[in-house]
Structures are given as C-alpha cells and as structure tokens.
C-alpha cells in the first residue's frame, strides 16, 4: 500500500454466540478512497460493517483507524473518531421528524462542511419535508435522510450498508450520483452491496466476500467482472 491507510481491518473474526460469521477478514481503505464490498446474502457484509462501527466488539488491533486500534471501542466513540454508518434498511427513527433525524446524526459534530443547511442544499426535497414524520417519506427519500444523518457528524469514513436495497433503479442511480459528489468532497467510504453494478463504478478497490471469508480482493480496474462473478457464486 503506497498511501497511508485510513482504515485497516486485519484478520478480523466475528462471532454470534457459537456461530462464527467472519474468518480473518482483512481490508484497507485509504483516505478519500472507496472500497466496495460485494457478496451474497449472509456472506458477512453487515457483520463486517457492524464490527467496524463498534456495534460488534472485536480485538483492539483487528480494526485500526488512522493507525489507532479501535476494535474494542463502543459505537458512539467510533463515531466520535470519524466513522459514520448508513445502516442496512435505513433504520430512521420513526418517532422523530426528518429534521430531528438529521440533527441527531450531527450531535457529535466534528469540524467539517456538513451542516443541516448543506444537507438541505444537496437534498432539497428533505427541506420541504423537514417537519414530517420520517416514516411518511418514500424509500428513496428515506435513504437520503439516512445518508444525510450520517454526514451530519462530518465523518472521514462513511459506511454504507446496501443503500440500493428495495429502491427502483432510477432512484439508485440518483443516490449513487449524490454519493459520488460526497466522495469527491474527500469522504472515504466502504460500500456494501449485493448488486455489483453501481458499487463497482464508484469504487477504487473491490472485496468479494463469501461465507465470512474474503474470496477475492483487488483494485477496481484490475479485477474483472468474470473474476467477481466466480467469487460471488463460489465456482
């Protein structure tokens, strides 16, 4: 790795009780870079993101951020270090309005460009709906709230768990266009998807996961779709 990595995951294991969900997963993301993590349902992608974000505790050195071990930190401390998550299924707070959802994402504000005003500039529809219950929005709009909510803390690294899940293709393209702009602003990202298309187009590196293990890993330009397909289906 020529550039100093922002995030380094090294030989990460994860367990749910007796069940081992991750086996020695390693992954590295440089500052401002995008890592795509691809894999079928149950491959361990969410477990990987939940480990990075601190929802699942790991060995201290299995996850390092800016060179410091963060594997044992609680989720709220990981956020304070500069890692924010867009969780699978969006998971907005149903009893909070759109604006309250955004504000709560920004209560641990690190210095940076993202403010409520900036989020509304990027997603004008959210300003129109700011006082509505978050549950009253369409799926795509809810995803915008979930992304905006994560950005409000001004993270250096954004974790996105299947942000295209359940959305129409045209909405997915729109969300990814926004994501491209966000990444261009210098925010690094780990993008988890089951679907290869959108994620691959934006990524610098690709990691394919299968049954809790890394099946294939490389620079986006160097691995072919055929390689990925092979890793994906385990042939």
């Amino acid at each position: 790795m020529p550039e100093a990595a922002l995030l380094e995951v090294e030989a990460l294991d994860a367990h749910y009780g007796d069940f081992q969900a991750l086996f020695g997963v390693s992954l590295s993301v440089g500052a401002g870079q995008v890592a795509a993590v691809i894999g079928a349902n149950g491959a361990g992608k969410s477990t990987l993101l939940n480990s990075i974000s601190g929802l699942i505790r790991s060995k201290a050195n299995a996850i390092r951020f800016r060179g410091e071990p963060i594997g044992t930190l609680s989720a709220f401390r990981v956020l304070a270090r500069g890692i924010a998550m867009v969780p699978e299924g969006r998971r907005l707070f149903p009893s909070l309005t759109v604006e309250e959802n955004l504000i709560i994402g920004g209560q641990f504000k690190r210095p940076g460009p993202w403010t409520l005003k900036r989020v509304y500039e990027v997603f004008p529809i959210l300003e129109e709906r700011r006082h509505q219950a978050s549950t009253s929005l369409s799926g795509g709009q809810q995803q915008m709230v979930a992304i905006g909510r994560a950005l409000m803390s001004n993270p250096a690294l954004l974790l996105c768990d299947e942000i295209s899940l359940g959305l129409a293709p045209i909405v997915v393209r729109d969300i990814y266009a926004h994501l491209r702009g966000i990444v261009a602003g210098g925010t690094a990202a780990v993008i988890v998807e089951q679907d290869i298309g959108q994620a691959l187009a934006i990524a610098n590196t690709v990691t394919c996961m299968q049954e809790g293990r890394v099946a294939l890993q490389g620079r986006a330009g160097e691995v072919t779709r055929a390689d990925i397909q092979a890793a994906y289906f385990g042939v």
């Binding site: 601190g54 989720a75 956020l79 998971r91 009893s95 709560i104």
Partner: protein
C-alpha cells in the same frame, strides 16, 4: 354537593397517582424497563425528606430543593452502577433486579428507621383550605400537589418534543442500536432518564408523606397505584398518564363514598375493566 366534593377530592388525589405513574412510564418508555422498586423508591424519597426536614428544620415543600437533586443523583448512579449491567434484549433480568432492589430497600429502611409509621409535618399548610361553597372546600396542599402534577406532566411533554434530551430519549426508545451509531451513549441516556424519573419520585414521595403515614412496607401499594394509572391512561401518552391518575383517584373516592372498604377495590376493578376492554389504555395512540 357531597358527590361533587367526592369527585373533586378524587381528582386532586389523582394528581399524586399521576406523579407515581409519570416516573414509571418515563422509564418504561425510554428503556422498556418495568421498575418494580418504583414504589419503594417513593418511600425512600419520603425518608430522605424526613431526614432533611428533621435535620435542617425545613418545611416539607422547601425540602424538595434538597430531596429532588439527591434522588436524581441516586437514580443516575443506580442506573449506571447496577441496572445498565442487566439491560439487553431480554427484559426479564432488569425486572428481576428491580424486584431484588425492592426487597433490599424495604429491609434497609426497616433496619434504619424501624417499622414505626412516620409522617411529614407541613404545619398550618396541612389544614389550610379554600372554601368554594357550602360543604365544598379544597385543601391548599392537595391543590399544590395537583398543580405540580400537571406542571410535571406538561414539563415532561415539552421536554420530550422540544429539547435535545427529549430527542435523545425518543431516539434511544425507537432503536437503541442505531442511536449508538449516531453518537448517543445509551448508558448515559438511560441514566439521565432514571435520574429524571427519581426526581419526579422525590416530589411524589414528599407529598405522599405529608398526606398519609408511611413506613418501610408501604412502597408496593404505591407501585400498584402508579401502574394502574399508567395502564388506564395508556402507555405511550403522558397526558394519558395524568388522565389515568385522575380516573383512578375519582373511582377510588367514589368507591370509598359508597363503602369505605371499597376504595382500593374500586380502583382495581376500573383497572381490570380497562385491561379487558381497551388494553392499549384510554388515551394511547395506535399501538407501536
């Protein structure tokens, strides 16, 4: 006139029940914890007030300035030091721990203060009353108690929907895992909720102790009244809690008017009727 009087007295007592209930429903709402020790904490607050009024020579109302912060600190420490360790997906462990806490509090108070029943003396305020009409007068102390209950419920409601703390409470209640992802320290938020709950308990405890005799074993009955008020009013609504307290007070007063032995029983019957015919409570929004 007699019945009007009965109902009005019931309404005023209902304010006290609403105070018992508000702390209980706050805790349940924020962290799905059923605090079995709630009644004993009310009694603990009464004993703290006893020490403060005796030791500092303060009037019970003035003693709130000391008792409320003391109970809030106890609540914060109780949550951080003990209850947080038991919180998880299973609601049974925290329930059992608060049951244990209830037993410990009762025995501890018995050791320290004996089984003698006590009462807080409020002096002239105890007997002061407003004459509204012939045969219809309202005590000043019950009026203050009722006013405080309404103020506490209104304040809680405002806090829930208009402050950062209330937003955190709602977020943690909605989805504790994602709340942590947004930078909320759930353990701290839970402890703040318990501190607030016990601050309300402190007010309830002081007014209870001025109104009636108390001893270390009177907690569980207060828990039942608070619990009944919460269920009657509806779990997800603070105004429902006030309504539940008032209805319980009125039904109890009406029962007592018919036959003194029916006071508590009438309340239980009303509670069971609500459970049977409208289990979500009278003012509850659609069940979540």
């Amino acid at each position: 006139m007699n019945w009007v009087n009965t109902i009005l007295q019931g309404v005023l007592v209902g304010g006290l029940y609403a105070m018992f209930a508000a702390g209980l429903s706050l805790i349940f709402g924020v962290m799905k914890l059923v605090n079995i020790a709630h009644g004993d904490l009310i009694v603990l607050a009464a004993y703290v007030a006893l020490i403060v009024t005796d030791g500092l020579g303060l009037n019970p109302i003035a003693s709130l300035l000391v008792v409320v912060p003391v109970m809030a600190v106890i609540g914060y420490c109780l949550q951080r030091g003990l209850l947080n360790r038991t919180m998880g997906d299973d609601i049974l462990p925290p329930l059992l721990v608060t049951f244990g806490l209830s037993v410990i509090l009762q025995n501890g108070l018995l050791e320290l203060f004996s089984a003698d029943s006590r009462r807080l003396q409020a002096g002239a305020l105890e007997t002061a009353s407003l004459q509204l009409a012939d045969g219809l007068s309202l005590g000043v102390l019950p009026l203050i108690q009722f006013g405080l209950a309404v103020a506490i419920i209104a304040g809680l409601h405002w806090m829930f929907y208009h402050t950062a703390l209330g937003r955190s409470f709602r977020a943690v209640s909605d989805d504790p895992r994602v709340a942590q992802l947004m930078g909320l320290n759930n353990r701290h938020v839970f402890a703040l909720a318990m501190a607030l709950s016990l601050a309300i308990v402190a007010v309830a405890g002081v007014f209870l102790a001025v109104r009636t005799n108390f001893d270390p074993a009177t907690g569980p009955a207060r828990l039942i009244f608070g619990f009944e008020a919460v269920i009657i009013g509806g779990l997800s609504s603070l105004w429902g809690t006030l309504l539940g307290g008032i209805l319980l007070g009125v039904v109890q007063a009406a029962g007592a008017e018919l036959d003194p032995g029916w006071q508590v029983l009438a309340g239980h019957v009303a509670f069971l009727a609500v459970l049977a015919f409208r289990p979500q409570g009278l003012l509850s929004r659609a069940s979540r």
